[in-house]
């Protein structure tokens, strides 16, 4: 018998029972739709996470911080002896509680640590991150200004350059100034902005000295900061205050109290670090669109931007910074494949660290579990549909008993009859599976728009591509699954059909 005839007989039988075929196909269609949709969004979300991660190079960056809790807290806790009669579980709990309350030796992110991290293999750069506030003096006029260090490669800074150029080395006595700082100086027109290029700017970092104690603060109207002159004047008053305390008309006990608070607490003068930098460029502020871009730990916004090594040198000239270290640093790895290894090496140094890679892997695992669950539900839906098919086809075998007997009487073999029924199952699977994938694809269009609007409302990320993907493997897997399930469901009815005794079947009414 010809293969085409087998299909012809199967199609004719399906056509003969149009309503039943349509209902059965609908069951397969629904299962396939859910399967295709869950596979599609599952893969789409994975792809989107991966794509968005690679749009920026933040997978190569590790944020490192000082470990204030102490690196040895856990190990110290493990060594604690917990005396007394108790269960092992309770002893462990107490040991952990002791560890949690035992301050280990804090590990600061010092210059030595920065140098050590920079020497690790596959580390491209270690960028200290700090936001300093100091006085910038240009043409005898001072302004309180923020200061940060960045890499010469910084794409973010380079595209915000509106005059001059960006520095090319990580250590040189140059800086860029913000358009807003110049505005605060009254430099607004293009000519005066261009005029500052090449000029020297003096930056003064003024700290309270090593010891803590009295601090005089000038609280000015909102939006105004104390000038350098005002700050210096306040510092002088603070220095001279102990000497003039007796001139104040205070009761003796208050005078004694104040003397006790002031004397010997801050004998040293204010710590002042000052340096000159040549202005090489002017930067504008980031636009709202630029701020929507993927998060980058190296992105900074400051009035003055210095090459990061020059900034670090400047920072570490302040009193106490060698011991205190810096707030945090960003380690840039040459390739994201090495990020985890470097991350571990940093933790081994007792520092705390954070990498987005780990977060992304966790997110991908969560989504994998969610969509894996959805896929299982879809598979169950298809299995239920398959049971429906098996039932429908068994009914069909019963109804077609006489027809099967006639076909046997005129030459149909058992194998051929079995194949006809199996092909009927496969056709239902192909039709339902194909329509299911098609429906999932059609539904993905409004679905994608809806998910995008949800994403746009909750996170400042603009997704460029669809969250639903329909690669060839997905279409093939859904179709293959639907066809396999429905074909398997048709096997038993097919065997029943083949086993029908033609003599008995011809007597069947």
């Amino acid at each position: 018998m010809r293969v085409g005839d087998l299909f012809g007989l199967a199609l004719a039988a399906l056509w003969q029972q149009k309503s039943r075929t349509a209902m059965t196909t609908l069951g397969v269609l629904f299962g396939s739709f859910v399967l295709a949709a869950s596979l599609s969004i599952g893969q789409g979300v994975q792809d989107t996470i991966e794509r968005e991660s690679h749009r920026s190079d933040f997978l190569r960056k590790i944020t490192v911080r000082s470990n204030h809790r102490g690196a040895n807290a856990d190990s110290a806790g493990k060594q604690v002896e917990v005396a007394g009669e108790m269960s092992d579980a309770k002893r462990d709990r107490l040991r952990r509680a002791i560890a949690d309350h035992s301050p280990g030796k804090p590990v600061a992110l010092t210059r030595d640590k920065l140098v050590k991290m920079a020497t690790l293999e596959h580390v491209e750069a270690v960028v200290p991150m700090f936001w300093l506030s100091g006085f910038a003096v240009l043409d005898q006029q001072s302004q309180l200004a923020s200061l940060a260090g960045v890499r010469p490669e910084s794409i973010d800074c380079r595209r915000r350059l509106i005059a001059g150029e960006f520095f090319s080395s990580s250590r040189q006595p140059v800086c860029t100034v913000s358009e807003y700082l110049l505005y605060r100086w009254g430099l607004t027109d293009e000519a005066s902005i261009a005029g500052v290029l090449g000029k020297k700017i003096r930056v003064e970092l003024r700290g309270p000295g090593q010891q803590r104690g009295l601090r005089l603060v000038l609280d000015k109207p909102e939006g105004e900061e104390p000038t350098l002159e005002e700050t210096i004047a306040l510092e002088k008053i603070k220095e001279q205050l102990p000497k003039v305390l007796d001139f104040f008309p205070l009761p003796p006990d208050q005078s004694r109290l104040l003397r006790g608070m002031i004397e010997g607490k801050d004998a040293s003068p204010a710590s002042v670090v000052s340096e000159e930098f040549t202005i090489v460029g002017v930067l504008r502020a980031a636009t709202p669109e630029e701020l929507k871009e993927p998060w980058d730990p190296l992105r900074v916004s400051a009035d003055l931007i210095l090459p990061y090594e020059t900034a670090a040198d400047f920072y570490f000239r302040q009193q106490g910074t060698e011991e205190r270290g810096i707030d945090h640093a960003v380690v840039v790895v040459d390739d994201e494949r090495h990020t985890k290894a470097i991350y571990q090496q940093i933790l081994d140094q007792g520092l705390t660290a954070f990498t987005v890679l780990e977060f992304i892997e966790q997110q991908q695992l969560i989504y994998l579990l969610i969509f894996g669950g959805m896929t299982c539900v879809a598979a169950v839906a298809l299995l239920v549909a398959a049971l429906g098919i098996a039932n429908t086809m068994l009914m069909s075998v019963l109804e077609r008993t006489r027809e099967i007997g006639i076909m046997k009487a005129v030459g149909a073999g058992n194998t051929e009859l079995q194949l006809v029924f199996v092909i009927e199952g496969a056709i239902i699977g192909s039709l339902g599976g194909g329509l299911g994938v098609l429906l999932a694809w059609l539904a993905s269009m409004p679905g994608d728009a809806w998910v995008r609007s949800m994403v746009a409302h909750s996170v400042p990320v603009e997704l460029k591509d669809s969250l639903f993907v329909f690669p060839l493997w997905l279409i093939a897997v859904t179709l293959a699954f639907a066809i396999t399930i429905t074909t398997l469901a048709a096997l038993y009815p097919a065997r029943r059909a083949a086993r029908i005794d033609p003599v008995a079947a011809l007597r069947h009414e």
């Binding site: 005839d5 027809e403 009487a409 005129v410 073999g413 051929e416």
Partner: protein
Amino acid sequence: MPEHSGSHALDGQAIRAVDLTKAYGHADSPVYALRGVTFEVRWGERVALLGKSGSGKSTLLNLLGGLDRPTSGSLDVAGHSIARLTGRQLARFRSVSVGMIFQSFNLIHSRNAWQNVKLPLVFAGQQPRERREVARRALEAVGLAARFDHRPAEMSGGENQRVAIARALANRPQILLADEPTGNLDSATAREVVRLIREHVEERQATLILVTHDEDLAAACTDRVLRLIDGQLAT
């Protein structure tokens, strides 16, 4: 003698049954439909199987048509030993070697006349173009050129039986087995059907086994009569 093929030569015999027995039911208490039936039919011979209802006529016809297998004894039809054929060979035998006509026509109701006639050709693996032509000619030969697209429910009993005859003859089998072909027809239609069967058998020099309880029909259509009484041939 007509050309025929088969695994066993029958020395000019189209059918040879030796001590043929068919029993139904449990082995402990079998019900015998045929008991040691022995007979031969020559190629081109027309034989009537006469007997009352329950005498085993239809059982014997089913065995001859390869729809059933004997319980014991040997049965050779058109060179094929029915008991020894595999399921696939038996299906092939039914589609090519014999043509069967039933009292109740046994047409597939969802298919039209042309599709019903085509069915044995489909199972025989004939090319679509060829079988279209063969089915058309077969229907024309039984006078149903205008009924190609009609389904069984849209035709009379006589027309349905003519479609069944066309189907039985479509593969040009050398043995035609007819089980009470006029049983469900009025006398005028029955005469027409008998005329058709006789005409085609004579034209093709086919072997005919006609099961009937009608003595007149047997005398009109056949050369020899075999009588079955309680599963045994009357001597």
